[in-house]
């Protein structure tokens, strides 16, 4: 018989870890080797316990899930991460997939489906909740910039023209704080790290005239 899949449970709710462990232990080919109540512990245990698959909650008080995924992928590349969370919104989904998650499931997944997803991910495939898959598809097929509000377009145009936040605020007669909000929303929608990249992308992909 092949080696069982070694699982690490990372969730700040003890009751959740308990239920998951009870069920997964009954699977012949799965063994739960550890539990973590926060992201920091998860990173350490994934490294120490030769874990194959980490079930990772995203919102935890001690070290958030997204940065934990990134660190696990860096430090223990053999370990696959499956997000198991209550939140499904574009920001979390894209951040998790970018950080290197191999699966994204919601906390209502039926037990048998979860076990199947773990095997799938261990075998090198992805496992996505249909809603998550839809979001990723939409993101991939959507023309760039389709989701901008008119105000975000204004800000992007000025940003691409090289204006600082203060000048943009002055030109649009809005507060600098509001400009900052628009800029951070633009960075997220454009999927870039900073305003220079945003400006470059905006010009290259003809998002601004």
């Amino acid at each position: 018989m092949p080696e069982p899949i070694r699982i690490l449970l990372a969730d700040d709710h003890e009751v959740v870890r308990q239920g998951l462990r009870r069920f997964l232990e009954l699977q012949q080919d799965i063994v739960v080797v550890g539990e973590a109540g926060g992201g920091r512990d998860a990173v350490r245990l994934a490294r120490e316990l030769e874990v194959d698959v980490v079930l990772m909650d995203l919102v935890m008080p001690d070290g958030d899930g997204i940065s934990a995924i990134r660190q696990i992928r860096e430090q223990t590349p053999a370990a696959k991460v499956v997000v198991l969370t209550s939140y499904v919104d574009d920001a979390n989904v894209f951040a998790a997939v970018q950080a290197g998650a191999a699966g994204y499931l919601l906390k209502d997944v039926r037990p048998e489906d979860l076990a199947a997803a773990i095997r799938q991910v261990h075998g090198g495939q992805a496992a996505l909740h249909p809603d998550v898959a839809t979001r990723l598809m939409r993101r991939a097929t959507q023309p760039p910039g389709a989701g901008f509000t008119p105000r975000e377009r204004d800000v992007l145009r000025l940003l691409a023209a090289g204006f600082a936040n203060k000048e943009i605020a002055r030109k649009l007669a809005i507060s600098e704080k509001t400009v900052k909000t628009h800029v951070s929303s633009l960075l997220q929608k454009l999927n870039v790290q900073d305003r220079t990249q945003a400006a470059v992308k905006a010009v290259r992909e003809r998002l601004v005239e």
Binding site: L20, L26, S86, D108, R110, R135, G147, A173
Partner: protein, 439 residues
């Protein structure tokens, strides 16, 4: 310290020293009285009115205006004194935040000039606008932000003095705090409802959902263990698992229904229904609604209609003395109509001074004009007040804003009967369980 300045600058102007001191004491007393009155006033519109009137009378200005910028290049509030209703109507649109008004807003410093037309940012006076010369503009600041501006013009002395500037600046610093307090007060009761709702959602999510999720796994594990030895027990445990799963689905819907609404994501019908619900609870007043979804409006149109509805509701809450309010939003072949009506005391439109009530009306008209809609206000003593906004079909945009198509009707969350086994409903694309995506 202040005394020295006054003496240096103003006491040598021919007035006897005693007379000057007496006058200054009177002014400071008036300022003090005004500051106290303003500080006690919790109604935002009354606060603004008092500030403007006090400022104008302190420096004996013929004309005065007070603007509260809306952060989008216009004014959320714009009050005037010394300009008649007729003149105001002839001037037309509310001013925008450019020219000297914009300069004042950006600089955050008082502007005092013998002739405003000499200011580098001065553009022109609109038609029918009185020609102003002497000008005193003072920003109203709260913390680091400029939240309003007071402008005064027309003084018997020909130009405003440094002392005038100081008096109005002192008043403005009280005004900043008062405006902030009044805003907070207005929001606080409504905020309490929203905060309570958020707390409930968080607790439902943290405690109940997590436990149900775990229960589903425990039940499944127990069913596996009971297995062949006790088929009846296994079947019961499987049913339990199914029920936990269904309850989890209900909980998702509930938490989703409780989350804060956004106009961009949820659309006008949902945002307006939610606002009405918050008012209902925070003010304990009956508000009847007939709100239609899928109106095919652009985001700008939806935003304008929501703001007008909020303004009208705010007026009704203030003047209707607890009488029921009715909100209707519907589309017909002719266009989209928004009605906010109360059965309160009403008022005689001809008799209302250009103060609080008209100020709200001006703002509503301005917002409506921006989306090519008309506003009609019907009121008479004893017959309640009705605000009717009409957006004719030809003003409707050919394409609704992107979020609109994906949104369903503004169905409030209604619990459905628990289902047995089977896939939870959102797995097959339920709209309640999955937010409609980012706008």
């Amino acid at each position: 310290m202040i005394d020295r300045r006054y003496r240096d600058q103003d006491m040598g102007t021919g007035e006897s020293s005693r007379e000057g001191w007496r006058k200054r004491a009177q002014q400071l007393a008036a300022l003090n009285r005004a500051a106290l009155t303003i500080a006690e006033e919790l109604d935002l519109d009354s606060v603004l009115t008092t500030i403007l009137r006090t400022a104008a009378s302190l420096v004996r200005a013929r004309y005065g205006a007070l603007g509260v910028p809306d952060g989008r290049g216009g004014f959320d509030r714009f009050l005037t004194v010394g300009i008649s209703d007729t003149t105001a109507r002839r001037i037309g649109d509310l001013p925008r935040v450019h020219g000297v008004l914009g300069a004042l807003l950006r600089a955050g410093q008082p502007i005092r000039m013998a002739d405003i037309r000499q200011h580098p940012d001065f553009n022109w006076f609109p038609a029918h606008h009185p020609v102003l010369k002497a000008f005193l503009g003072v920003p109203i600041r709260y913390r680091a932000e400029t939240i309003g501006e007071v402008y005064l013009s027309g003084t018997p002395a020909g130009s405003f003095s440094k002392r005038d500037e100081e008096l109005v600046s002192m008043l403005a610093s009280h005004a900043g705090v008062a405006i902030a307090t009044a805003r907070l007060y207005r929001q606080s009761t409504e905020l309490a409802v929203l905060e309570e709702r958020e707390r409930v959602a968080r607790e439902l999510h943290d405690a109940v959902s997590q436990t149900l999720f775990s229960l589903m796994y425990e039940a499944r594990a127990a069913a596996l263990e009971a297995g062949a030895e006790s088929p009846a027990a296994a079947a019961a445990l499987e049913r339990l698992e199914g029920q936990a799963s269904a309850a989890l689905g209900e909980m998702r819907g509930l938490v989703y229904a409780l989350r804060p609404k956004s106009l961009e994501r949820d659309g006008l019908a949902v945002a307006l229904s939610d606002h009405v619900e918050v008012l209902r609870r925070s003010h304990g007043i009956a508000i009847e609604t007939g709100i239609q979804a899928e109106l095919g409006l652009s985001l700008d149109q939806e935003t304008a209609l929501l703001r007008i509805a909020q303004e009208a509701l705010q007026n009704s809450l203030k003047h209707a003395n607890g009488a029921p309010i009715r909100v209707a939003l519907r589309r017909s072949r002719a266009g989209v109509e928004l009605v906010v009506a109360d059965s309160g005391a009403g008022f005689d439109i001809e008799q209302v001074p250009r103060t609080v009530m008209t100020m709200g009306l001006t703002t509503m008209r301005d917002r409506a004009a921006a989306i090519k809609a008309s506003v009609e206000v019907n009121s008479s003593p004893g017959a309640g007040t009705e605000v009717r906004v009409f957006l004719p079909a030809r003003s409707l945009s050919p394409t609704a804003h992107p979020g609109a198509a994906r949104r369903g009707a503004p169905v409030p969350f209604r619990p459905r009967p628990l289902r047995g086994r089977g896939r939870p409903p959102h797995m097959v694309g339920r709209s309640v369980g999955s937010p409609g995506g980012d706008a």
